[in-house]
């Protein structure tokens, strides 16, 4: 069974980790989780992104959710938000595409232009 003791160890490690950085959030990944997003696989996209972020130990990335934004025909959608850069919205996402976005955009800073629907 998972215990709170395990969490204490994670906290100690995380605190060491955070000390070494100037900013704690470098990039934010936002998954649209409205009804049509959910019906078209947004949960699997969320899961894939969480997996990638955990497996690659990307401790300066925030993964979060939002409701519908009127892009229903392109759901599931994912925004990648970085300070001082235009927000990139990816559409028609799948778990596989989402993994690629994490690997190329979030990790290496290279926008995956094939999946981009808007950029502002």
């Amino acid at each position: 069974m998972k215990t709170l003791e395990g969490l204490r160890k994670i906290r100690e490690k995380a605190q060491q980790d955070m000390k070494l950085r100037s900013s704690n959030t470098r990039i934010k990944v936002v998954i649209g989780m409205g009804t049509s997003g959910i019906a078209t696989g947004a949960r699997e996209v969320m899961k894939a992104i969480m997996d990638e972020v955990a497996n690659r130990s990307l401790s300066d990335v925030i993964v979060t959710q939002t409701g519908e934004k009127g892009l229903s025909s392109m759901e599931p959608v994912v925004d990648v938000i970085e300070d001082g850069k235009p927000t990139i919205t990816y559409g028609n996402m799948t778990a596989e595409k989402a993994r690629k976005v994490v690997a190329e955009h979030v990790v290496n800073g290279k926008i995956v232009s094939d999946y981009v629907v808007t950029s502002e």
Binding site: K2, L7, I10, R11, M33, N55, S59, G67, K69
Partner: protein
């Protein structure tokens, strides 16, 4: 929606949109009464009587800002429960919050499968780190003995301090804790 866990996710998103800071979720399997029950209760903005009525109407949505004015989340969940000889109640009070109860006949031939509860819970918890979740899974057996599992984000956040829930090891921890709980209650087989 292909399964109940996706309906749950949709309902949780409603609660978040209603600015809930706490969402209580209960999933109860009761063998003796042949039922599978879901209770989702939030402390969000709540609805007045008219909104409450129209929320269960397939041609209504609260999302005024968007073009498509049709919200299907609640009506579909209601329909799926009632189709399975079940029961659906939505209660709400302005300023207090909303409570949704959906009951399915467990062995009804048309009952949707449970689906992936783990991904629904973990995604919601991580994706809404500023909302607290209290999750209770309960299996009430034939002899009235109860197997249960409780998960609370408050305890976890207290332990973590300023470390975010999206910290990689924390996500893995939460994912594993929820997985263990679901397996303990054997809900992955529902």
């Amino acid at each position: 929606m292909q399964d109940i866990s996706l309906h749950l996710l949709d309902i949780i998103e409603n609660s978040v949109r209603a600015k809930a800071s706490l969402i209580n979720i209960e999933v109860i399997r009761e063998v003796m009464r042949n039922k599978l029950e879901f209770v989702i209760e939030d402390n969000g903005t709540g609805m007045d009587e008219e909104t409450l009525r129209s929320a269960q109407d397939p041609f209504y949505t609260s999302k005024v800002e968007r073009e498509k004015k049709v919200g299907l989340g609640i009506p579909l969940f209601k329909q799926n429960a009632e189709m399975c000889n079940g029961h659906f109640v939505l209660e709400s009070e302005l300023g207090k919050g909303t409570k949704l109860v959906a009951i399915f006949q467990f062995d009804h031939v048309d009952r949707m499968p449970m689906g992936n509860l783990q991904d629904t819970f973990v995604g919601s918890i991580i994706g809404h780190a500023d909302v607290d979740f209290e999750i209770v899974l309960k299996n009430i057996k034939l002899d009235s003995s109860v197997e249960d599992f409780t998960f609370s984000t408050r305890a976890i956040k207290a332990e973590l301090g300023d470390i975010p829930l999206t910290y990689p090891d924390v996500m893995t921890y939460i994912d594993q804790a929820i997985e263990e709980g679901i397996k303990k209650i054997k809900m992955e087989e529902f």
